[in-house]
């Protein structure tokens, strides 16, 4: 299998871009090395989804210039709807490729919390970023798309929570996409140092109907000893994008990482979410809801890999497929040799709303250690006509009955999401998508 990578960009373009951003030499080198390996690296191979004809490499322009915001009042209404302007003190907004707004409370600044756009972080916190950027989490040379990401990185955010700091209020990041020519090579790097705690919520929000670019998104969450990270997202990327999104976490001893992922894209999407439970006693929990519609094709591969002893991994995914949408839900619980007393659990459920919708749930347990527990449940099915009959027999219209059944189907996951704001946003997006 060969995939042509005909980038319009040259090595010199990459170098100029990096220098233009005043990046330290390690970053320029990292980009160039990634660029140099693009041709030889293979594409990723998401199980059960054939992506050979997907466009992951052609896009109109590398970066677009967009306006900045001087206050939250200037935000477009669609963004205002997901920001609580009165209460949200800690927020970063990226407008297409432009760092557009940043606010971090004095209190958190004083405690040493860093929240900044990725360019500034690479420049001003070079050592710290270099230590964690594509080292323990996602590797540059994993495959063609991670290398492409590293070479073309054009946005993202860095959040660092120092030792012993507990951030009470959620930190919010918004990636606003309102230029159809824009491509998003965004990198979210979140480092929670020992004994720290933070809740982070990001939104990918397209306000254009149709996108022409690429979204190649990498997120790394590094949860150090005894830290607690709650990572929530509501992704609403427009149709037209080809989206590759890789969200990965690494937990040290006693750390807890909770993912709450609302995957509401209208684009074709390959989503990879992996949690490496490296430290003993650490936990990784994944909760994901998906609504697919139109002719969308999506693949959601969720992995929790147990390396440490007494580690706890849970995956809970519910997806609704409308119209001609199709989705593959791969769930992988892997327990490595030596990870004694670990527990890997997963549940995937897919509800199909039409004859042409497709869903497939593949639970996989890979266990190389005897002294462990593990379990999985998976179901794929259509809306039960008797449920609709029952609801309709009380006067509820078929449409409303379907709406209730869909919300009900997703509710066990939505209700479990650890962040109230995400829960509310997600419910609203689901409402829009199933209407």
């Amino acid at each position: 299998m060969t995939v042509e990578t005909k980038l319009a960009l040259t090595e010199q373009d990459i170098r100029s871009f990096s220098e233009g951003k005043q990046e330290p030499s390690w970053m320029t080198e990292l980009r160039l090395k990634a660029f140099g390996e693009l041709e030889t690296l293979p594409m990723p191979t998401p199980d059960k989804t054939k992506i050979t004809n997907w466009n992951f490499t052609e896009f109109p322009v590398h970066t677009v210039d967009s306006s900045k915001f001087t206050s939250l009042n200037e935000l477009p209404d669609e963004v205002k709807a997901v920001v609580n302007a009165d209460e949200q003190k800690n927020i970063y907004i990226q407008h297409n490729n432009t760092p557009a707004f940043l606010s971090l409370s004095e209190d958190l600044k004083a405690k040493g919390v860093i929240l900044t756009d990725i360019y500034t972080a690479i420049r001003e916190h070079s050592d710290l970023v270099q230590q964690y950027f594509m080292t323990d989490g996602v590797k540059v040379t994993e495959h063609k798309l991670t290398a492409l990401h590293a070479a073309l990185l054009n946005g993202g955010v860095f959040l660092y929570v120092p030792k012993n700091v507990v951030v009470e209020e959620p930190i919010q990041v918004i990636y606003l996409h309102d230029d159809k020519a824009a491509s998003l090579f965004n990198h979210t790097l979140l480092v929670a140092d020992e004994n720290s705690s933070v809740t982070y919520v990001e939104n990918y929000l397209s306000t254009v109907e149709h996108a022409e670019g690429l979204a190649n998104i990498v997120t790394e969450v590094i949860a150090k000893d005894n830290s607690k990270v709650t990572f929530g997202t509501v992704d609403v990327l427009a149709e037209g994008f080809t989206t590759y999104v890789n969200r990965r976490g690494v937990t040290s001893r006693d750390a807890v990482l909770e993912w709450a992922l609302g995957m509401m894209n209208d684009s074709d999407t390959i989503s990879e979410n992996t949690t490496h439970l490296v430290g003993d006693n650490s936990e990784g929990h994944v909760k994901m809801v998906v609504v697919g519609r139109g002719k969308q094709k999506q693949n959601f591969t969720t992995k929790v890999i147990h390396w440490g002893k007494h580690t706890e991994g849970q995956i809970l995914k519910h997806g609704v497929m409308k119209e001609e949408a199709s989705s593959i839900f791969n769930g992988i619980g892997k327990i490595e040799y030596g990870a004694t007393k670990s527990n890997a659990e997963q549940t995937s459920r897919v509800l199909m709303l039409s004859e042409k919708a497709r869903g497939d749930a593949n639970p996989i347990l890979l266990i190389d250690e005897d002294d462990v527990t593990a379990g999985h449940a998976a179901s794929v099915g259509r809306v039960d006509p008797l449920q609709l009959y029952y609801l309709m027999s009380r006067g509820i219209s078929q449409h409303e009955a379907e709406r209730l059944v869909i919300h009900g189907f997703l509710a066990p996951v939505v209700n479990e999401l650890p962040i109230e704001g995400v829960k509310k946003q997600l419910t609203e997006v689901i409402e829009r998508k199933v209407r």
Binding site: L391, S393, R394, G395, I396, L404
Partner: protein
């Protein structure tokens, strides 16, 4: 006064004819009991009136105050004033009992004229108390994990909240202990009156000790074969169905057999 008229109703399921010409007229302010042994088409009658997707009406008619019920979708039948308390209510995960009931009530009201939350809660609480239900059940997922008795009470709760013109109760007494039976009957008797008629389907006379019917019908072989007053139910209780079969020359009362 409203009237539900069923004329020469023929119904099939999976190509097999179950109802073979049912005739029945029910007015509001009347309670009709439909009795009969198992397999005679009683539940099919209930499902056909409500519009269950598996049952196909092949001929005959059902009219509610002159309106053609068979031309209506299931939700339109409910809006027109029909209600079926089901023998096996569906369980619906993620939808609370309260949200479901509110949607059902609002489906009968114009947009902008939805029932206020306070009024809804007040009514719900008082009806739940009347039916001796645990108030927590309002926030539980619809019928999910409910015991048989809880499901039946929940059907009656819906009946009382929705106030239909005609309620069909499909073996509401099955699986109920005597206390639950009394509560369920209390709910139905509470509904009894000018604007309400009911078709009570049962194969035990026991329920009719608590809900006195005005009319009693016996179904066999997919038809109403005998009608009478409350005394008919009592005779059935005392003597069983054999005498009816003998009187009519029926050997096997179940559907698919001819006299």
């Amino acid at each position: 006064m409203s009237t539900l008229v069923i004329k020469d109703l023929h119904v099939e399921i999976d190509g097999k004819e179950i109802l073979k010409g049912v005739n029945l007229t029910i007015n509001t302010n009347e309670i009709h009991a439909v009795m009969g042994p198992n397999g005679t088409g009683k539940s099919t009658l209930a499902s056909a009136i409500m519009g269950h997707p598996k049952y196909e009406v092949t001929s005959g008619s059902i009219e509610l105050d002159g309106e053609d019920v068979l031309a209506m979708e299931v939700d339109e039948r409910a809006q027109a004033g029909l209600f079926l308390a089901m023998q096996y209510p569906s369980e619906i995960t993620g939808v609370t009992n309260a949200d479901f009931l509110r949607s059902a009530i609002n489906s009968r009201r114009e947009e902008g004229d939805e029932i206020s939350l306070m009024k809804f809660i007040r009514e719900l609480d008082s009806k739940m108390e009347f039916l001796e239900m645990d108030l927590d059940m309002a926030q539980r997922y619809l019928n999910e994990g409910f015991s048989g008795g809880e499901k039946k009470r929940n059907e009656i709760l819906q009946l009382m909240m929705l106030q239909p013109k005609f309620a069909i109760l499909d073996e509401i007494d099955s699986g109920l202990d005597i206390d639950a039976l009394k509560v369920v009957s209390k709910g139905i008797n509470e509904m009894r009156g000018e604007g309400f008629g009911s078709l009570v389907i049962t194969h035990y006379q026991r329920l009719l000790n608590y809900i006195t019917p005005d009319h009693v019908h016996v179904m066999m072989q997919g038809r109403v074969v005998k009608s009478g007053g409350p005394e008919l139910a009592q005779r059935l209780e005392a003597e069983g169905y054999e005498w009816v079969k003998e009187e009519l020359g029926i050997e096997d009362e179940t559907v698919g057999q001819e006299a």
